[in-house]
Assembly symmetry: C2
Homo-oligomer: 510 residues x 2
């Protein structure tokens, strides 16, 4: 059930509707037909696109002659018209599943000529509605483009099609003693093409950096069907403008990524997880600084959990904390190549931070089952907070000195009106998730939150979407992280690459 | 003295002149006026730009009111009109030295309105003539924009102006326990803005990745004077298109980089260098694979030197090899956080590779003076090969399996006509430097080399300029690494960002 506020949404003032637009409760038990259509819920006007006819479908059949490449009708395409979190719902009644870049090219050329809008669909694990149609866009599913083309263990480069599932790639690489440079909770569903299109982050970013560093080459099919060969077999290439980066993080609005070349690190052999309790935020910062200095090259993740977040998670999981109660916890993961060396580094580090009173308490383990349990205390916080009637989540980047300030600030504003205001996230990457949960999301609460959160972030020159992207849900918030000149240049690039605006319309730019 | 072939150049066929264009000998003792003017030597036609008048100079004086911000006349500007390697010479008689982004903006807006061409000048350490004017372009020197704005040791982010010298930034960061993610031989001259504009690589790339991963934000002044604020205080930001990457590696043709935010690693505490001898190239590959597995997280550099390159270097430096004579040598550098752990890892690694007969001989040291001596055997090879009458150098990326094939292939073609064909470089980054040196560069030799080297590289989908860029010298070779569609898109982007083509004309795209 959606909370009342949404049932009565139409009675609210227009300003308030806008404010609440992206704050619909995620209720995972909601039936598909109970999810409001995005076009209605977000009040979107259909673009000047054609409506697909039987003749168009016939043409698609000629482009995709093998069986099982086309789905027709809303019943068949239902899984392609809603996201996992049920934020959005579309009406795309045609799903096309190309097997080759040439098929993608033929589809795009035809759609461009016919002014048919296209929505690109990967593993459907996005959280901003970026891959779900809004109206009747043709859905281009990359499911069948899932071949691993080569793994060069010498150069450390994987080349594959964009529909490959991240977890499968990880398995293939493991057989060659390699690993993917990114790891995500959604790895068993998400596709590498979607990861690249959304510049996915994840829990290894602190160690292995962003996809802008790892992605070596892309093949992209442009809106007009041009196959843009930006592939590379090598790590360094300074010949002309570095075009591939335009497509990394552009959420399928500038082109369809069909192939990917990515630099992959050598697999690590050891894994340790530390779970530490700290008495205040300045201790968190000192712990992080000491961690970077002492654990240096074996540091992989440094995650923050505040007391309210941990307590909510523990209650939800019906488990207990491995240590006493503290205002802050950090989860540190190390990976390396020598069990003994890592253990010694960790021992020295703990002696130092506990000896100097920076860390109050902690546990450390290298046992896989215990590692999983400790990671659950971080990874299952979102699920725990979502068990409330409503839960708003923000994915912010903030400079570390002021990283946590948003949580007490928000508690001051709405703490008396909600059940939970908590902060957690990838502090090693300056990325905090702020969750606010309670029984009923009233206009009063919503107005105390938005635009405060965004203005707070803008003042610190942070990002209002650190890793989740913009998609359908956040275009109107773009201005809080991007200058007018930047947004104008984005629109010019969109025009250069997709003159008719047929690719993922209504997303990213509004 | 230039070799005869160039003195007689005009008597050669036009085709041969083209072939030889970029192969002029680097003779570092050549006087400035002996360097042919780029416009003549590379046969370039002046673009449809205005010629600066006294009124223009008056206007520049009003934009730059403080003293020492303007140099006038070819005698004053001589240092801005030739590169270190004396490949190129220009005729820019006006040097402007803005102190602020606003001054850059005012200059660009004025030049754009008046159709005055502008050449952006950093530390003048480029090797493709990218920062030297060809005709009378206004020279925009970034020398005075050299302020460090902030160092955030918690987030690990440096913010500075683009004229900061790399080595100075390294010093400032060291005081905070941090380091730059890149290191270059030219670090005491080159500027961070130039590093970013050329996507500089260097000897730490294997460990810390490319600038596309490290650069978090840029401020760029566009050709029309727009100040494009793409700065960031944080590591993750997925709000809209990732515009800053358009300017990384575009060699000043799309905008003037004025400020940089860059992620900087924690300083390492230990340093070791291994120098190993190997009997064949397959042993080099095995050594690299084992190195990645055993040394893993402490591996910083993995460099290749072949026998001819080492012998040339040793003779030039009047030194001796630390080990016997082998077809191949690798120089491995490790940096880490524990002297003892690093030593143990290295010991285990050497026992393994020597025990298994992969490596034939080797030395290892952690003494700074010995480390410097070993690095000289790699870093001074170029200087040694340039001591020949002529020396051609190629900066190629090739997949590691075929990395060294270019050297014997070239020996087969020209070995009997020249004194030296050798290969060395950043094998850890798939980047080989192929040098060919001898007494006289004849048309026969040149035609055996070009286009063979480029076609060889294209067949393997390598890069014809791994780290040096395109600049003035290589636009016509771009097609060997980039598709026609890519080059067309580059030209469209240039039009979007610099409609009048006033920024660094004649460079990158021709």
């Amino acid at each position: 059930m959606l909370p009342n506020i949404f049932h009565n949404g139409r009675q609210l003032s227009r300003i308030f509707q806008c404010t609440l637009q992206m704050y619909r409760q995620r209720s995972l038990t909601t039936g598909v037909n109970e999810i409001p259509l995005s076009k209605d819920h977000y009040n979107i006007k259909r673009g000047p696109f054609s409506v697909a006819t039987d003749a168009d479908i016939k043409h698609f059949e000629s482009i995709l002659p093998a069986g099982n490449q086309i789905l027709l009708g809303l019943e068949e395409t239902v899984g392609y018209n809603r996201d996992y979190f049920k934020y959005v719902r579309g009406l795309g009644a045609i799903v096309l599943k190309p097997r080759t870049s040439e098929e993608v090219s033929n589809i795009m050329r035809y759609c461009n000529n016919k002014r048919l809008a296209v929505s690109v669909f990967g593993g459907n694990t996005g959280v901003c509605g970026g891959s779900i149609p809004v109206f009747d866009e043709i859905i281009l599913s990359m499911d069948l483009m899932n071949r691993v083309e080569s793994i060069d263990k010498y150069s450390g480069i994987l080349v594959c099609e964009s529909g490959c599932v991240l977890g499968k790639l990880e398995e293939e690489l493991a057989m060659e003693g390699m690993m993917m440079p990114l790891d995500l909770g959604a790895k068993n569903s998400c596709q590498i093409g979607g990861n690249v299109s959304t510049n996915a982050g994840g829990i290894r970013l602190l160690r292995y950096g962003s996809l802008h560093g790892s992605v070596l080459g892309l093949e992209v099919v442009l809106a007009d069907g041009t196959i843009m060969d930006l592939m590379s077999n090598v790590k360094k290439d300074n010949t002309g403008y570095h075009l591939k980066h335009m497509f990394i993080g552009s959420e399928g609005t500038l082109g369809v990524i069909t192939r990917v070349a990515i630099a992959c690190p050598t697999a690590t052999k050891t894994q340790n997880v530390l779970f530490l309790g700290l008495r205040d935020y300045s201790s968190v910062l000192r712990t992080f600084l000491e961690c970077k200095a002492c654990l240096g090259e074996i540091l992989t993740s440094f995650e923050l959990i505040d007391r309210d977040a941990l307590e909510c998670c523990i209650e939800h999981l019906r488990t207990s904390s491995p240590i006493g109660s503290y205002p802050f916890y950090v989860l540190i993961e190390t990976t390396g190549s020598s069990k003994q060396h890592d253990a010694e580094k960790i021992r020295d580090y703990l002696e130092h931070v506990i000896g100097h009173g920076i860390v109050s308490d902690g546990v450390v383990t290298n046992e896989p089952s215990k590692i999983t349990k400790l990671w659950q205390l971080r990874e299952r916080i979102p699920e725990a907070t979502y068990s409330n009637n409503f839960c708003l989540t923000f994915d912010l980047s903030l400079p570390l000195k002021n990283f946590y300030d948003i949580v007490p600030a928000m508690k001051d504003r709405v703490g008396h009106l909600v059940k939970l205001v908590c902060g957690f996230g990838h502090i090693g990457d300056s990325n905090i998730h702020l969750n606010i949960a309670g029984d009923e999301l009233t206009p009063e609460i919503a107005e105390l939150i938005d635009p405060f959160v965004y203005e707070f972030t803008r003042k610190l020159r942070g990002s209002i979407s650190a890793e989740h992207g913009i998609g359908l849900l956040k275009p109107k918030y773009l201005k809080y992280s991007k200058s007018a000149e930047s947004i104008d240049l984005m629109k010019q690039l969109k025009l250069v690459l997709d003159r008719n605006g047929i690719l993922n319309p209504y997303k990213v730019l509004c």
